[in-house]
Protein backbone atom coordinates (compact mmCIF):
# COMPACT_ATOMS: atom_id res chain seq x y z
CA UNK A 1 0.00 0.00 0.00
CA UNK A 2 1.06 3.62 -0.48
CA UNK A 3 -1.99 5.72 -0.10
CA UNK A 4 -2.69 8.99 1.61
CA UNK A 5 -6.18 10.05 2.68
CA UNK A 6 -7.10 13.63 3.39
CA UNK A 7 -7.89 14.13 7.06
CA UNK A 8 -7.61 16.65 9.84
CA UNK A 9 -4.86 19.22 10.14
CA UNK A 10 -2.33 18.78 12.94
CA UNK A 11 -4.11 21.56 14.83
CA UNK A 12 -7.42 19.68 14.66
CA UNK A 13 -5.84 16.42 15.81
CA UNK A 14 -4.63 18.46 18.78
CA UNK A 15 -8.14 19.82 19.32
CA UNK A 16 -9.60 16.32 19.30
CA UNK A 17 -7.12 15.23 21.98
CA UNK A 18 -7.86 18.39 23.98
CA UNK A 19 -11.54 17.45 23.97
CA UNK A 20 -10.63 14.09 25.44
CA UNK A 21 -8.71 15.55 28.37
CA UNK A 22 -10.72 15.94 31.54
CA UNK A 23 -10.80 18.99 33.76
CA UNK A 24 -8.95 18.58 37.03
CA UNK A 25 -6.14 16.51 35.53
CA UNK A 26 -2.37 16.80 35.25
CA UNK A 27 -1.12 16.29 31.72
CA UNK A 28 2.28 16.04 30.02
CA UNK A 29 2.55 16.90 26.33
CA UNK A 30 5.33 15.48 24.16
CA UNK A 31 7.05 17.05 21.18
CA UNK A 32 5.19 17.49 17.89
CA UNK A 33 1.40 17.42 17.58
CA UNK A 34 0.98 17.04 21.37
CA UNK A 35 2.62 20.43 21.91
CA UNK A 36 -0.20 22.01 19.87
CA UNK A 37 -2.76 20.78 22.40
CA UNK A 38 -1.76 23.50 24.84
CA UNK A 39 -3.36 26.14 22.60
CA UNK A 40 -6.70 24.38 22.89
CA UNK A 41 -6.77 23.94 26.63
CA UNK A 42 -5.77 27.50 27.60
CA UNK A 43 -8.15 28.64 30.33
CA UNK A 44 -9.32 25.13 31.13
CA UNK A 45 -8.76 23.46 34.51
CA UNK A 46 -5.93 21.27 33.23
CA UNK A 47 -2.41 21.58 34.61
CA UNK A 48 0.52 20.87 32.30
CA UNK A 49 3.64 19.27 33.67
CA UNK A 50 6.90 19.76 31.84
CA UNK A 51 9.76 17.27 32.31
CA UNK A 52 12.28 20.06 32.74
CA UNK A 53 10.77 20.71 36.17
CA UNK A 54 7.64 22.84 35.95
CA UNK A 55 4.02 22.43 36.89
CA UNK A 56 1.34 24.64 35.32
CA UNK A 57 3.31 25.57 32.25
CA UNK A 58 1.79 28.60 30.53
CA UNK A 59 1.52 29.55 26.85
CA UNK A 60 4.61 30.17 24.71
CA UNK A 61 6.44 33.38 25.51
CA UNK A 62 6.81 36.12 22.94
CA UNK A 63 8.78 39.35 22.83
CA UNK A 64 9.65 40.70 26.24
CA UNK A 65 8.10 37.70 27.96
CA UNK A 66 10.99 35.51 26.83
CA UNK A 67 13.15 34.42 29.80
CA UNK A 68 16.02 32.06 29.12
CA UNK A 69 15.45 30.50 32.55
CA UNK A 70 11.91 29.48 31.65
CA UNK A 71 11.61 26.96 28.86
CA UNK A 72 9.60 23.81 28.28
CA UNK A 73 10.89 20.33 27.49
CA UNK A 74 10.81 21.10 23.76
CA UNK A 75 13.24 24.02 24.28
CA UNK A 76 10.64 26.71 23.71
CA UNK A 77 10.39 29.83 25.85
CA UNK A 78 7.17 29.63 27.87
CA UNK A 79 5.34 31.76 30.39
CA UNK A 80 4.27 31.08 33.94
CA UNK A 81 0.71 31.16 35.27
CA UNK A 82 -0.53 32.00 38.75
CA UNK A 83 0.34 28.88 40.73
CA UNK A 84 3.16 27.69 38.47
CA UNK A 85 5.96 26.02 40.36
CA UNK A 86 9.42 24.69 39.68
CA UNK A 87 11.37 21.69 40.93
CA UNK A 88 14.46 19.73 40.07
CA UNK A 89 14.70 16.93 37.54
CA UNK A 90 14.61 14.15 40.14
CA UNK A 91 11.30 15.45 41.48
CA UNK A 92 10.04 15.89 37.93
CA UNK A 93 10.67 12.26 37.06
CA UNK A 94 9.40 11.08 40.43
CA UNK A 95 6.12 12.70 39.39
CA UNK A 96 6.23 11.04 36.01
CA UNK A 97 7.46 7.56 36.92
CA UNK A 98 5.59 7.55 40.23
CA UNK A 99 2.14 7.67 38.67
CA UNK A 100 1.26 11.26 39.49
CA UNK A 101 0.58 12.39 35.90
CA UNK A 102 -2.92 11.55 34.70
CA UNK A 103 -2.27 11.61 30.97
CA UNK A 104 0.79 11.76 28.73
CA UNK A 105 0.28 12.57 25.07
CA UNK A 106 3.13 11.57 22.79
CA UNK A 107 3.91 11.50 19.11
CA UNK A 108 4.91 8.22 17.42
CA UNK A 109 6.63 6.81 14.38
CA UNK A 110 4.79 3.49 14.57
CA UNK A 111 2.19 1.81 16.72
CA UNK A 112 0.71 -1.67 16.73
CA UNK A 113 -2.61 -3.10 17.88
CA UNK A 114 -1.23 -4.28 21.21
CA UNK A 115 -0.39 -0.73 22.29
CA UNK A 116 3.33 -1.01 21.62
CA UNK A 117 4.78 2.07 20.02
CA UNK A 118 8.02 3.37 18.55
CA UNK A 119 9.05 6.98 18.67
CA UNK A 120 12.53 7.56 19.98
CA UNK A 121 14.71 6.36 17.15
CA UNK A 122 14.45 6.21 13.39
CA UNK A 123 16.69 3.41 12.12
CA UNK A 124 17.05 5.31 8.84
CA UNK A 125 19.47 7.57 10.72
CA UNK A 126 21.83 4.64 11.01
CA UNK A 127 22.64 5.01 14.69
CA UNK A 128 22.13 2.46 17.46
CA UNK A 129 21.94 5.33 19.94
CA UNK A 130 19.34 8.12 19.81
CA UNK A 131 17.35 10.65 21.76
CA UNK A 132 15.28 8.90 24.40
CA UNK A 133 14.57 12.01 26.46
CA UNK A 134 11.66 11.58 28.83
CA UNK A 135 9.54 9.41 26.55
CA UNK A 136 10.15 6.03 28.16
CA UNK A 137 9.60 7.41 31.66
CA UNK A 138 6.29 8.92 30.60
CA UNK A 139 5.22 5.58 29.16
CA UNK A 140 6.23 3.79 32.33
CA UNK A 141 4.52 6.17 34.70
CA UNK A 142 1.62 8.12 33.23
CA UNK A 143 -1.75 6.72 34.22
CA UNK A 144 -2.98 6.98 30.63
CA UNK A 145 -0.92 7.19 27.48
CA UNK A 146 -2.36 8.80 24.35
CA UNK A 147 -0.63 8.91 20.99
CA UNK A 148 -1.30 11.78 18.59
CA UNK A 149 0.17 11.40 15.10
CA UNK A 150 -0.47 11.39 11.38
CA UNK A 151 -2.22 8.17 10.38
CA UNK A 152 0.37 7.34 7.71
CA UNK A 153 3.79 8.62 6.69
CA UNK A 154 4.08 11.50 4.27
CA UNK A 155 4.52 8.88 1.56
CA UNK A 156 1.38 7.05 2.61
CA UNK A 157 3.13 4.11 4.27
CA UNK A 158 1.56 2.43 7.30
CA UNK A 159 2.42 3.88 10.68
CA UNK A 160 -0.21 1.68 12.34
CA UNK A 161 1.40 -1.68 11.80
CA UNK A 162 1.16 -5.34 12.76
CA UNK A 163 4.75 -5.44 13.91
CA UNK A 164 7.02 -2.55 14.86
CA UNK A 165 10.06 -2.22 12.63
CA UNK A 166 11.39 0.79 14.55
CA UNK A 167 12.85 0.46 18.08
CA UNK A 168 10.07 0.34 20.66
CA UNK A 169 9.60 3.12 23.16
CA UNK A 170 7.19 1.06 25.27
CA UNK A 171 5.27 -2.17 25.09
CA UNK A 172 1.53 -2.42 25.67
CA UNK A 173 1.21 1.02 27.21
CA UNK A 174 -0.87 3.04 24.73
CA UNK A 175 -4.53 3.52 25.68
CA UNK A 176 -5.81 5.64 22.85
CA UNK A 177 -4.66 6.82 19.45
CA UNK A 178 -5.62 10.08 17.74
CA UNK A 179 -4.74 10.62 14.08
CA UNK A 180 -5.81 12.90 11.28
CA UNK A 181 -8.19 10.14 10.20
CA UNK A 182 -9.49 8.41 13.30
CA UNK A 183 -9.76 7.90 17.01
CA UNK A 184 -8.85 4.37 18.04
CA UNK A 185 -8.95 2.68 21.43
CA UNK A 186 -6.31 0.07 22.22
CA UNK A 187 -8.09 -2.75 24.03
CA UNK A 188 -7.12 -6.26 25.06
CA UNK A 189 -9.05 -7.42 21.96
CA UNK A 190 -7.16 -5.11 19.64
CA UNK A 191 -7.75 -1.72 18.04
CA UNK A 192 -11.32 -0.48 18.27
CA UNK A 193 -12.22 2.24 15.78
CA UNK A 194 -14.36 4.79 17.63
CA UNK A 195 -14.39 7.82 15.36
CA UNK A 196 -13.52 8.69 11.80
CA UNK A 197 -12.63 12.05 10.30
CA UNK A 198 -15.41 13.93 8.50
CA UNK A 199 -16.11 12.43 5.08
CA UNK A 200 -14.36 9.13 5.74
CA UNK A 201 -15.78 5.65 6.26
CA UNK A 202 -14.39 2.97 8.57
CA UNK A 203 -13.33 1.13 5.43
CA UNK A 204 -11.28 4.14 4.34
CA UNK A 205 -9.48 4.12 7.68
CA UNK A 206 -8.95 0.35 7.50
CA UNK A 207 -7.41 0.74 4.07
CA UNK A 208 -4.50 2.75 5.53
CA UNK A 209 -4.19 0.68 8.71
CA UNK A 210 -2.25 -2.57 8.63
CA UNK A 211 -3.79 -4.43 11.59
CA UNK A 212 -7.45 -5.40 11.41
CA UNK A 213 -9.63 -2.79 13.13
CA UNK A 214 -12.59 -3.71 15.28
CA UNK A 215 -15.31 -1.30 14.17
CA UNK A 216 -17.16 -0.03 17.19
CA UNK A 217 -20.95 -0.51 16.83
CA UNK A 218 -21.37 3.18 17.57
CA UNK A 219 -18.53 4.43 15.39
CA UNK A 220 -19.11 8.08 14.55
CA UNK A 221 -17.63 11.21 13.12
CA UNK A 222 -14.84 12.78 15.15
CA UNK A 223 -16.08 15.13 17.86
CA UNK A 224 -14.39 18.48 17.25
Amino acid sequence: MAKKLKGLSRELIALRVANELEDGTYVNLGIGIPTLISDWIAGRDIILQSEIGMLKTGPLATGDEVDQDLINASCQAVTALPGSCYFDIVESFAMIRGGHIDVAVMGALQINDRGDYAGWSNPARGLFVGNIGGSMDLCAGARKLFIAMEHTTREGEYKIVKKLTYPATAIGKVNKLFTDLAVIDITPQGMVLREVAPGLTPEDVQSVTEPRLIISPDVREMAL
Binding site: D69, A73, C75, I89, A124, V129, G141, A168, A170
Partner: protein
Protein backbone atom coordinates in the same frame (compact mmCIF):
# COMPACT_ATOMS: atom_id res chain seq x y z
CA UNK B 1 33.62 28.39 55.47
CA UNK B 2 34.49 30.49 52.48
CA UNK B 3 34.40 28.47 49.29
CA UNK B 4 34.72 31.37 46.88
CA UNK B 5 37.34 31.03 44.15
CA UNK B 6 38.25 34.10 42.15
CA UNK B 7 37.98 32.71 38.61
CA UNK B 8 36.52 29.79 36.72
CA UNK B 9 40.01 28.90 35.52
CA UNK B 10 41.29 28.63 39.05
CA UNK B 11 38.15 26.72 40.08
CA UNK B 12 38.87 23.93 37.58
CA UNK B 13 42.66 24.03 37.73
CA UNK B 14 42.99 20.59 39.35
CA UNK B 15 40.79 18.64 36.95
CA UNK B 16 42.98 15.91 35.48
CA UNK B 17 42.83 14.31 32.07
CA UNK B 18 40.34 11.45 32.09
CA UNK B 19 37.96 13.05 34.58
CA UNK B 20 34.24 12.34 34.57
CA UNK B 21 32.45 15.70 34.73
CA UNK B 22 28.71 16.13 35.24
CA UNK B 23 27.23 18.86 33.03
CA UNK B 24 23.72 19.94 34.01
CA UNK B 25 21.36 21.99 31.91
CA UNK B 26 18.33 21.10 29.86
CA UNK B 27 19.14 22.15 26.30
CA UNK B 28 19.79 25.90 26.62
CA UNK B 29 18.58 26.27 30.20
CA UNK B 30 20.83 26.17 33.26
CA UNK B 31 24.04 25.13 31.48
CA UNK B 32 27.33 26.01 33.27
CA UNK B 33 28.72 27.74 30.24
CA UNK B 34 31.52 29.71 31.87
CA UNK B 35 32.99 26.55 33.42
CA UNK B 36 32.76 24.75 30.07
CA UNK B 37 34.65 27.61 28.48
CA UNK B 38 37.34 27.33 31.14
CA UNK B 39 37.59 23.62 30.38
CA UNK B 40 38.22 24.45 26.72
CA UNK B 41 40.93 26.93 27.71
CA UNK B 42 42.55 24.39 30.00
CA UNK B 43 42.53 21.76 27.26
CA UNK B 44 41.86 18.81 29.58
CA UNK B 45 41.73 15.62 27.52
CA UNK B 46 40.01 12.28 27.57
CA UNK B 47 36.94 13.66 29.32
CA UNK B 48 33.68 11.89 30.04
CA UNK B 49 30.85 14.44 30.07
CA UNK B 50 27.95 13.07 32.09
CA UNK B 51 24.85 15.01 31.05
CA UNK B 52 21.10 14.71 31.49
CA UNK B 53 19.25 16.37 28.67
CA UNK B 54 21.30 17.88 25.88
CA UNK B 55 23.23 20.72 27.55
CA UNK B 56 25.84 20.33 24.82
CA UNK B 57 23.17 20.97 22.19
CA UNK B 58 22.36 24.12 24.16
CA UNK B 59 26.02 25.13 24.52
CA UNK B 60 26.73 24.15 20.93
CA UNK B 61 29.66 26.48 20.49
CA UNK B 62 31.47 25.04 23.50
CA UNK B 63 30.71 21.48 22.37
CA UNK B 64 32.11 22.13 18.93
CA UNK B 65 35.30 23.48 20.48
CA UNK B 66 35.62 20.49 22.80
CA UNK B 67 35.17 18.10 19.88
CA UNK B 68 37.53 20.04 17.66
CA UNK B 69 40.19 19.98 20.41
CA UNK B 70 39.62 16.23 20.83
CA UNK B 71 39.00 16.71 24.57
CA UNK B 72 36.01 14.38 24.82
CA UNK B 73 36.19 10.61 25.08
CA UNK B 74 32.60 9.91 26.04
CA UNK B 75 29.21 11.55 26.55
CA UNK B 76 26.42 10.07 28.67
CA UNK B 77 23.00 11.63 28.08
CA UNK B 78 19.33 11.06 27.30
CA UNK B 79 19.20 13.51 24.41
CA UNK B 80 22.53 14.40 22.83
CA UNK B 81 21.81 14.52 19.09
CA UNK B 82 20.08 17.09 16.95
CA UNK B 83 16.49 16.15 16.29
CA UNK B 84 17.04 16.74 12.60
CA UNK B 85 19.03 13.97 10.95
CA UNK B 86 20.20 16.44 8.32
CA UNK B 87 21.58 18.80 10.91
CA UNK B 88 23.07 15.86 12.79
CA UNK B 89 25.04 14.74 9.74
CA UNK B 90 26.77 18.13 9.70
CA UNK B 91 27.44 18.18 13.45
CA UNK B 92 31.06 17.43 14.41
CA UNK B 93 29.92 15.68 17.59
CA UNK B 94 27.57 13.32 15.75
CA UNK B 95 30.26 12.74 13.14
CA UNK B 96 32.69 11.74 15.90
CA UNK B 97 30.05 9.44 17.37
CA UNK B 98 29.45 7.83 13.99
CA UNK B 99 33.18 7.36 13.54
CA UNK B 100 33.45 5.77 16.98
CA UNK B 101 35.89 8.49 18.08
CA UNK B 102 33.54 9.58 20.84
CA UNK B 103 31.41 7.14 22.78
CA UNK B 104 27.77 8.10 23.31
CA UNK B 105 25.91 6.16 26.01
CA UNK B 106 22.21 6.89 26.38
CA UNK B 107 19.56 6.29 29.05
CA UNK B 108 16.00 7.48 29.55
CA UNK B 109 16.02 10.91 31.20
CA UNK B 110 14.42 9.75 34.43
CA UNK B 111 16.99 6.98 34.70
CA UNK B 112 19.79 9.52 34.21
CA UNK B 113 18.28 11.66 36.97
CA UNK B 114 17.97 8.65 39.24
CA UNK B 115 21.54 7.46 38.56
CA UNK B 116 22.92 10.80 39.77
CA UNK B 117 20.47 10.87 42.64
CA UNK B 118 21.56 7.38 43.71
CA UNK B 119 25.24 8.36 43.56
CA UNK B 120 24.61 11.39 45.75
CA UNK B 121 22.46 9.49 48.21
CA UNK B 122 24.64 6.43 48.76
CA UNK B 123 22.31 4.09 46.87
CA UNK B 124 24.42 1.84 44.63
CA UNK B 125 21.58 0.49 42.48
CA UNK B 126 17.82 0.63 42.05
CA UNK B 127 15.04 -0.95 40.03
CA UNK B 128 13.05 1.10 37.53
CA UNK B 129 10.16 0.29 35.20
CA UNK B 130 11.46 2.75 32.60
CA UNK B 131 12.64 1.19 29.38
CA UNK B 132 11.14 -2.26 29.90
CA UNK B 133 10.33 -3.72 26.49
CA UNK B 134 12.80 -1.44 24.72
CA UNK B 135 16.46 -1.88 23.85
CA UNK B 136 17.20 -0.11 27.13
CA UNK B 137 16.14 -3.30 28.88
CA UNK B 138 18.41 -5.48 26.79
CA UNK B 139 21.70 -3.64 26.93
CA UNK B 140 23.65 -0.58 27.85
CA UNK B 141 22.85 1.59 24.82
CA UNK B 142 26.09 2.86 23.30
CA UNK B 143 27.52 3.38 19.86
CA UNK B 144 30.61 1.39 20.86
CA UNK B 145 29.52 -2.20 20.33
CA UNK B 146 32.19 -3.63 22.62
CA UNK B 147 30.77 -1.68 25.54
CA UNK B 148 27.23 -3.00 25.21
CA UNK B 149 26.43 -5.22 28.14
CA UNK B 150 23.22 -6.97 29.08
CA UNK B 151 21.08 -5.52 31.85
CA UNK B 152 19.52 -7.39 34.69
CA UNK B 153 15.77 -7.42 35.18
CA UNK B 154 13.52 -8.60 37.95
CA UNK B 155 9.82 -9.15 38.47
CA UNK B 156 8.54 -7.37 41.59
CA UNK B 157 4.86 -7.67 42.47
CA UNK B 158 4.13 -8.94 38.98
CA UNK B 159 5.79 -6.11 37.08
CA UNK B 160 9.14 -6.19 35.30
CA UNK B 161 11.90 -3.75 36.29
CA UNK B 162 15.42 -3.00 35.12
CA UNK B 163 18.33 -2.81 37.55
CA UNK B 164 20.26 0.42 37.02
CA UNK B 165 23.36 1.64 38.84
CA UNK B 166 24.50 4.87 40.45
CA UNK B 167 26.66 7.16 38.31
CA UNK B 168 29.22 9.08 40.35
CA UNK B 169 31.09 11.83 38.50
CA UNK B 170 34.46 13.08 39.70
CA UNK B 171 33.36 16.70 39.26
CA UNK B 172 30.10 18.53 38.71
CA UNK B 173 29.84 21.96 37.13
CA UNK B 174 26.66 23.67 38.23
CA UNK B 175 25.04 26.98 37.34
CA UNK B 176 22.98 28.85 39.94
CA UNK B 177 21.17 32.16 40.08
CA UNK B 178 22.38 32.86 43.63
CA UNK B 179 25.10 31.35 45.73
CA UNK B 180 26.50 32.32 49.11
CA UNK B 181 30.07 31.94 50.27
CA UNK B 182 29.34 28.63 51.96
CA UNK B 183 27.91 27.15 48.77
CA UNK B 184 24.19 27.36 49.50
CA UNK B 185 22.55 27.72 46.09
CA UNK B 186 19.28 28.84 44.60
CA UNK B 187 18.28 28.36 40.98
CA UNK B 188 15.96 30.28 38.66
CA UNK B 189 12.82 28.53 37.44
CA UNK B 190 13.48 25.74 34.94
CA UNK B 191 17.23 26.36 35.09
CA UNK B 192 17.22 24.17 38.20
CA UNK B 193 16.80 20.92 36.22
CA UNK B 194 19.92 18.70 36.68
CA UNK B 195 21.91 21.25 38.68
CA UNK B 196 20.89 20.16 42.15
CA UNK B 197 21.18 16.43 41.67
CA UNK B 198 24.56 16.67 39.95
CA UNK B 199 25.82 18.82 42.82
CA UNK B 200 24.91 15.95 45.16
CA UNK B 201 26.43 13.26 42.96
CA UNK B 202 29.97 14.44 42.32
CA UNK B 203 33.07 14.05 44.43
CA UNK B 204 33.86 17.73 43.83
CA UNK B 205 31.16 20.25 42.91
CA UNK B 206 32.04 23.60 41.39
CA UNK B 207 29.24 26.17 41.22
CA UNK B 208 29.24 29.18 38.92
CA UNK B 209 26.78 31.74 40.28
CA UNK B 210 25.23 34.80 38.70
CA UNK B 211 24.91 36.49 42.08
CA UNK B 212 27.30 35.94 44.95
CA UNK B 213 25.82 36.87 48.31
CA UNK B 214 27.08 36.91 51.87
CA UNK B 215 26.33 34.11 54.30
CA UNK B 216 22.89 34.61 55.78
CA UNK B 217 21.38 36.49 52.85
CA UNK B 218 19.55 33.40 51.62
CA UNK B 219 16.62 32.39 53.83
CA UNK B 220 17.13 28.86 55.11
CA UNK B 221 13.82 27.65 53.66
CA UNK B 222 14.69 29.13 50.23
CA UNK B 223 17.92 27.23 49.66
CA UNK B 224 17.66 24.70 46.84
CA UNK B 225 21.08 23.09 47.26
CA UNK B 226 22.57 23.02 50.77
CA UNK B 227 26.18 24.08 50.86
CA UNK B 228 27.43 20.70 52.05
CA UNK B 229 27.29 19.52 48.44
CA UNK B 230 29.25 22.44 47.00
CA UNK B 231 33.02 22.68 47.25
CA UNK B 232 33.87 25.76 45.17
CA UNK B 233 31.86 28.86 44.28
CA UNK B 234 32.78 31.27 41.51
CA UNK B 235 30.97 34.40 40.38
CA UNK B 236 30.24 34.62 36.66
CA UNK B 237 28.40 36.96 34.35
CA UNK B 238 24.88 35.93 33.43
CA UNK B 239 25.34 33.91 30.23
CA UNK B 240 23.28 34.53 27.11
CA UNK B 241 21.51 31.74 25.31
CA UNK B 242 19.55 31.76 22.08
CA UNK B 243 16.65 29.50 23.03
CA UNK B 244 16.88 26.95 20.27
CA UNK B 245 18.52 23.63 19.54
CA UNK B 246 17.41 23.46 15.93
Amino acid sequence: MDKVISSVDEAIADIPDGAVIAIPGFFTCGVPRALLQALIRKGTKNLTLACGCGPLLGAAEEMRALVKNRQVKKVIDSYALYRSATKGMQDPFEQAVRAGEIELEVYPMGTMAEKYRAAGAGIPAFYTPTGVGSVVEETVVTNIEANRAPKETRIINGRKYILEYALKPDYAFVHALIGDREGNLRYAKTARNFNHVMATAARVTIAEVENLVEIGELDGDDVHTPGVYVHRVVKVERPRFAITID
